[in-house]
Amino acid sequence: MKALLSGNEAVARGAYESGVVFASAYPGTPSTEILENIVQYKEIYAEWSPNEKIALDGAIGAAYAGKRSLAAMKMVGLNVAAEALFYSSYTGFDGALVIVTADDPGMHSSQNEQDNRYYAKFAKVPMLEPTDSQEAKDFVGLALEISEKFDAPVLLRMTTRICHSSSVVELGERKAGAPERKPFARNAMKYSMIPGFAKRRHPVMEQRLKDLAEYAESFPYNKAEWGDRSLGVVANGVAYQYAREVFPEASFLRLGMSWPLPEKLIREFASQVDKVVVVEELDPFLEEHLKMMGIEVAAGKDFFPILDEFNPGIVRDAAYKAGLVKETVEPPKVEMGPLPPRPPVLCAGCPHRPVYYLLKKYGLVVNSDIGCYALAVLPPIATTDTLGCMGASIGVAHGINKAGVEERAVATIGDSTLWHAGMPGLLNVVYNKSNTVTLILDNLTTAMTGHQPHPGTGRTLMGEKTVKGDFEALARAMGYEEVRTVDPLNLKETEEALKASLDANKPAVLITRSPCIFMYDKRPGLYEVDSERCNACGRCFEIGCPAVVRSDEIDEKSGKAKAEINTILCFGCSVCEQVCARKGIHALEG
């Protein structure tokens, strides 16, 4: 049977067909849908772990238990999980493990661009790279076979464009039956990496890499595709597909295994074409290796950009500049002025918005984190000073306060992000005694990636009821004396709690708890502006709500536009009503 599947759906299907019994992940674009789809296969235990490192530890444990397992993460998640990647490369498994890393060239939804092919080289593990959904599915099975054969974790590198593109996939059946329960294969010298044992594993790993390089020579997806031999293109991943469009006549060396590289195959290919070009997204990973082998690269990163995501147009333009194709494609020329931008914004009714409204009012140095509230960096809210990575907010605020500036530094971090990487930072503030106020923006879900449950929600990925983590109890257990919880949609209450937290001048936690608007069945209300009372003061615009818009009606005195509420967008949070000094905004009946 054939189906149109996205790359992520195909990876999930591949896990099912190839007998995976354990799958774990933390949500992160562009990888999230892998676990969201795996959970439909009842034969697989699937979980959202608190973070990627814990997800990988769990998948490693399942592989130690002799089973086939999968861990999935976005590319920066592998930074979090890197320590586990490295020890698992030393130990190998009784079973098998595939680690999916979803890179995000172009940073559609990430804080940096990074090329995780280097992790394969760094941790000395094999890496496969699919070019479409069919391969994404098939490579899960291949990766697990390689993992079993070479006693190593195998990285499967996806990119946003592979994850979120759909193509036709031939579906198969699940190969394995119910897994048998065997005694644990006790082997401390292999699985307990104290220095003395790790020293004995390291040469095994080096030999494994040589064996893998030999295997790569005959890996079925490393292959020359012969065309016109005046041009030889070396490519992998989705860049291979773009290059295929741009150079329809050329010869290709397509590398489905990005590490270790098949040097004999590469040399043979290079010797049979007049010139070699390398087309790869992000860093010159293949190019550097070819150059190190003494192969001349006629065009690589000097033409094909190191920045941003490719598309066929970008590859064609670069090829044109490099003199590799005779013409490029130009769209019709259209003269038009600058268009109003349409960036994503916090939803109308979002409980994060009033928190930033208050932080702006107090002139605090706001150190923020990864989540929807990252949108508070941009206008109209524009109330964030630093934002680095998962969990960074608290540590950075602590450092700023300890080093000392005129203003107070605070941290804002979401509920799922606090569970993920915020707890050690929260502990550091109270242990090392800085006067940092940490605001936990608790909207009771992992909102940005599509509302996944987390350890505070009382639900698991598989839909089971479970315990609910308690931030108040957590903070008190760490030693916090200043712990407050407020409803951020109540501005007065929130402002008083913020003031009290700041005035205490010691470690403090302020939990602002209100559900994400997607958690409601219907909107709690609807507001309107009384245009008689409105004097166009603009205070309600300062909240930055997309439902509060300029009216066509102009206030005679000030000459400015009055306010109006878009009744389709309004969610009924009442924050605009609370900021209006003239009582000019009120709830609509019914």
Binding site: L4, H108, S109, H164, V168, G313, P344
Partner: protein, 192 residues
């Protein structure tokens, strides 16, 4: 068979992604190799949305660059202008007659392009353009949510694919209780 590239654009929440799912599956139904590409995550939340669909004997790239799209289907007027450069010389734009002013217009200082500006840009950037009342037709049928299927109906007139292939996919993709509504929406679009 002829290679055909589509771009579907609009605003998060307008149903662009369902429309591109339907278009991709119709391509499969009609015997093409098909790829579809879109971006999730931060791109939603009321932001600008782009999805691309390609039909051909053999599709390599899941998306194309500027100047390579045959049909631009825009769910909103301003978004049609934003993505116009995707269209090839002589390409066709089908544009839903709907204005959704972004924040920069509704509470900021920027102006939404005037109907004249929109008409001029579309005339210069396309071989043919059609501004269609898809939203109004959907509202006549009782819900603006059917706008996407009205637009799919409007697009279907330009493509050499039997009507039953479109209806077969719509039947597969749409929940039973909305099926009749969506059949009507498709027919209304096809009649535009």
């Amino acid at each position: 068979m002829k290679t055909t590239n589509f771009a579907l654009v609009g605003v998060g929440g307008q149903g662009v992604l369902l429309a591109s799912d339907i278009l991709a599956e119709v391509g499969v139904e009609a015997g093409y190799d098909v790829k579809k590409s879109e971006v999730h995550g931060m791109a939603q939340r009321g932001g600008s949305v782009l999805s691309q669909v390609r039909w051909a004997d053999k599709v390599y790239a899941p998306l194309v660059g500027n100047g390579e799209v045959d049909y631009l289907i825009s769910f909103e007027l301003l978004e049609a202008l934003r993505w116009l450069q995707l269209l090839r010389k002589g390409g066709t734009a089908i544009v839903n007659e709907q204005r959704l002013p972004p924040l920069a217009v509704s509470s900021g200082g920027m102006e939404y392009p005037s109907p004249e500006q929109i008409g001029k840009a579309l005339a210069a950037g396309t071989g043919a353009y059609h501004i269609v009342p898809a939203l109004a037709k959907a509202e006549e049928l009782g819900t603006e949510r059917a706008t996407n299927v009205v637009l799919i109906g409007a697009l279907s007139r330009f493509l050499d694919v039997p009507e039953e292939d479109w209806l077969k996919v719509i039947e597969r993709r749409v929940p039973e209780k909305y099926l009749e509504l969506n059949r009507k929406a498709f027919a209304a679009g096809r009649a535009l």
